[in-house]
């Protein structure tokens, strides 16, 4: 006996969702570190872009800074908000800097 239509659908959706889910490393600094309460975490997400990931985390942890006021780095290089996330990426959100 083969799988029922319903079973195939569930199975198919699971495969699809597994493909979309990735685990990324997120590092936090300054105000974001304070608001998140830790400096680094492995985070499982279905977000496609770094912007979606920030919005997801912002909603979860009540970050005060809108994405438009901060920068973002992917694997230790500055990047833009539309950049697509891949498994094991390192993402760092960069609050307004204040060196000097």
């Amino acid at each position: 006996m083969g799988k029922s239509q319903a079973e195939r659908q569930i199975w198919g959706e699971d495969i699809l969702s597994n493909q979309n889910t990735k685990t990324v490393r997120v590092d936090y600094f300054a105000l974001l570190k304070e608001q998140r309460g830790l400096s680094s975490e492995q985070f499982q997400t279905k977000s496609t872009t770094v912007k979606e990931l920030y919005e997801e985390l912002k909603a979860m942890y009540n970050f005060s800074l809108p994405h438009s006021s901060i920068g973002v780095a992917l694997n230790d290089e500055f990047t833009n908000w539309e950049k697509t996330l891949s498994e094991k990426d390192k993402v760092v959100f960069i609050p307004p800097v204040a060196g000097g």
Partner: protein, 144 residues
């Protein structure tokens, strides 16, 4: 060359790194921890850096300053806890003639302040603390 330092910056050692027989001028900038900021009295200050990217971006800035026609440039930025009067950042530049060194030095410190991922947390005498620039929601200007 750009580096971060968790200990006091050695002025003489940094200066020595840009000395050259071809140099006729030397310009340096020292950024110090000031006792007040925006009308509030500062009691303690801490710098935090995203080291990997701060060093990469800092090196890029110092390399960009070569376009002014300098001989050598160096910059060191502190991390960790600092006291009032401590040296927070130092830029040194040598060049054949003074104009290039002045221009390059100003360029480096301006770019460091706006582009390098370093953050400053100030503690005030009234006990309040703040991450400088983070409540004003400035754009970071980090596009390179």
């Amino acid at each position: 060359m750009f580096s971060l330092s968790s200990t006091a910056i050695d002025r003489e050692a940094l200066r020595a790194r840009v000395i050259s027989p071809a140099a006729g001028g030397f310009v340096s900038f020292e950024g110090w921890v000031r006792e007040n900021n925006e009308g509030k009295e500062v009691s303690a200050l801490e710098y935090e850096a995203y080291a990997e990217l701060a060093v990469a971006e800092g090196k890029k800035i110092v390399a960009e300053a070569e376009r002014f026609g300098i001989i050598e440039a160096e910059c060191v930025h502190r991390t960790g806890a600092l006291a009032i009067g401590d040296l927070a950042v130092m830029v040194v530049v040598s060049s054949a003639h003074r104009k290039a060194a002045f221009e390059a030095c100003e360029y480096i410190i301006n770019e460091i302040k706006s582009r390098v991922p370093i953050w400053k947390r100030e503690t005030y005498t009234d006990g309040e603390t703040t991450w400088v620039n983070c409540s004003h929601q400035h754009a970071t200007g980090t596009k390179s």
